[in-house]
C-alpha cells in the first residue's frame, strides 16, 4: 500500500515537473507578473487563445521572449510595445482607445443604453395603464 501511494505521488510529481516549458523564475512575484502579462497577450497562431495558454511553437518562443525581456529589466509596457511594433494592437487583449477602436470600446455600452431606454419606456407605459384583473384565459 505504501509503495502504491509513493508511486501515485511520483506520477503526480512528474506531471508537475513537466508542466509547459518551465522557465527559471527567481521568485513567485516574477512568475505572477509573467502569468498576468502573457494572459493579456494574444497568441497569433491560435487567435482565440492567449499567450499563456497556447502550445503553438511560436507562442512558446514568444513566451520565452517575454521572459527574456523581463529578465533584462523591461517594463510590461515596453514588452507590450515590442510585440505591438511587430504584430499590431491585435496582440493585446486590451487594445488602446483610439479612432480605429472607438466602436470596439463603446458600441457595446451604447447598445446597452439603447436597450435600457427601450425597457424603461415599455415599463413606464405599462405602469401608466390602469391595473386590470388578470384574465384567467390569458396565456402567459
Amino acid at each position: 500500500m505504501k509503495r502504491f501511494v509513493f508511486l501515485i505521488a511520483l506520477i503526480f510529481a512528474a506531471s508537475f515537473a513537466h508542466a509547459i516549458d518551465p522557465l527559471p523564475f527567481k521568485d513567485r512575484a516574477e512568475e505572477v507578473r509573467f502569468q498576468n502579462l502573457t494572459r493579456v497577450l494574444r497568441c497569433l497562431v491560435c487567435q482565440n487563445q492567449n499567450l499563456a495558454d497556447s502550445e503553438a511553437e511560436l507562442a512558446v518562443e514568444l513566451r520565452r521572449q517575454v521572459f527574456t525581456m523581463m529578465q533584462s529589466g523591461k517594463s510590461d509596457a515596453e514588452i507590450k510595445q515590442y510585440l505591438v511594433a511587430r504584430y499590431n494592437d491585435f496582440v493585446l487583449y486590451d487594445p488602446p482607445v483610439k479612432a480605429g477602436t472607438l466602436l470596439l470600446w463603446f458600441l457595446p455600452g451604447v447598445l446597452v443604453l439603447i436597450g435600457a431606454g427601450v425597457v424603461f419606456n415599455i415599463l413606464r407605459k405599462k405602469s401608466r395603464q390602469p391595473v386590470t384583473a388578470a384574465d384567467p384565459e390569458e396565456d402567459w
Binding site: 497569433l44 497562431v45 487567435q47 511553437e57 511560436l58 518562443e61 521572449q65 504584430y87 499590431n88 491585435f90
Partner: protein
C-alpha cells in the same frame, strides 16, 4: 410608429449580418495587418543557408527591391506555394530572397533539393528571431521591400496567381515612386 421599431431593429440586424458576410468575402479573419507597411524593414543579419560562414543583412540588400519569402520545410502551405514562386513570381524579374524560418538548416536544404530552389539567396533563421522581428506568425509570408529598405507590401499566406495579378503586380509598378502610407 412604435410598432415599426422591432421591424427596424430586425432590418438593422440583417444589415449587420450581411455586412459581416460581405466583409469576410474580401478579408481573411486570421490576417493581422502588419504595422511595418511603409516603414523601414527591421534590421537583420543572417547566415546564408548554403554558405553558413557568410552573412547577409538588411543593409547588404539596399539598392535593389526584393521579395523576402518566409518558408520552412515543416510548412505544408509553403510546399503548395513553391511551384507558384517558381513559375509566377520568379519570372517577374524581382530578386527573391528566402528565409528558412524556425527550421534546421539541414531540413531546409533537403526541402529545397527536393522541390528546387527558386531563391536568389536563402537565409536561415533557426531560432526564429528575425522572423519575429518581421512579425511573421504564419508561414508562408512574403514582404516586398524596396531599394531604400522600406516594406511596401506584405502577404500573409501563400501567393496565388490571382493575388500576384491583383496585389503584387500593382505594388511592383509603384516601386519607383515614393512610399504612400496607408
Amino acid at each position: 410608429m412604435t410598432r415599426l421599431i422591432p421591424l427596424l431593429v430586425f432590418i438593422a440586424l440583417v444589415g449587420l449580418l450581411a455586412f459581416g458576410i460581405e466583409w469576410n468575402k474580401h478579408h481573411e479573419m486570421f490576417e493581422v495587418p502588419s504595422p511595418l507597411i511603409a516603414k523601414p524593414a527591421p534590421q537583420f543579419t543572417l547566415p546564408l543557408l548554403y554558405e553558413p560562414d557568410k552573412k547577409l543583412g538588411r543593409n547588404d540588400l539596399l539598392g535593389e527591391p526584393y521579395i523576402l519569402n518566409v518558408f520552412g520545410s515543416w510548412c505544408p502551405t509553403c510546399q503548395d506555394e513553391h511551384p507558384i514562386l517558381t513559375r509566377a513570381v520568379k519570372p517577374l524579374g524581382i530578386k527573391l530572397i528566402g528565409l528558412d524560418w524556425r527550421d534546421a538548416p539541414a531540413d531546409g536544404k533537403r526541402w529545397l533539393a527536393q522541390f528546387g530552389n527558386p531563391y536568389d539567396a536563402v537565409l536561415t533563421d533557426p531560432d526564429g528571431h528575425a522572423g519575429i522581428d518581421f512579425g511573421v506568425y504564419m508561414a508562408p509570408e512574403s514582404f516586398l521591400i524596396d531599394a531604400q529598405g522600406v516594406v511596401r507590401y506584405k502577404r500573409i499566406g501563400m501567393f496565388t496567381p490571382e493575388l500576384i495579378q491583383s496585389e503584387l503586380m500593382p505594388q511592383l509598378k509603384t516601386l519607383g515612386q515614393p512610399v504612400t502610407a496607408k
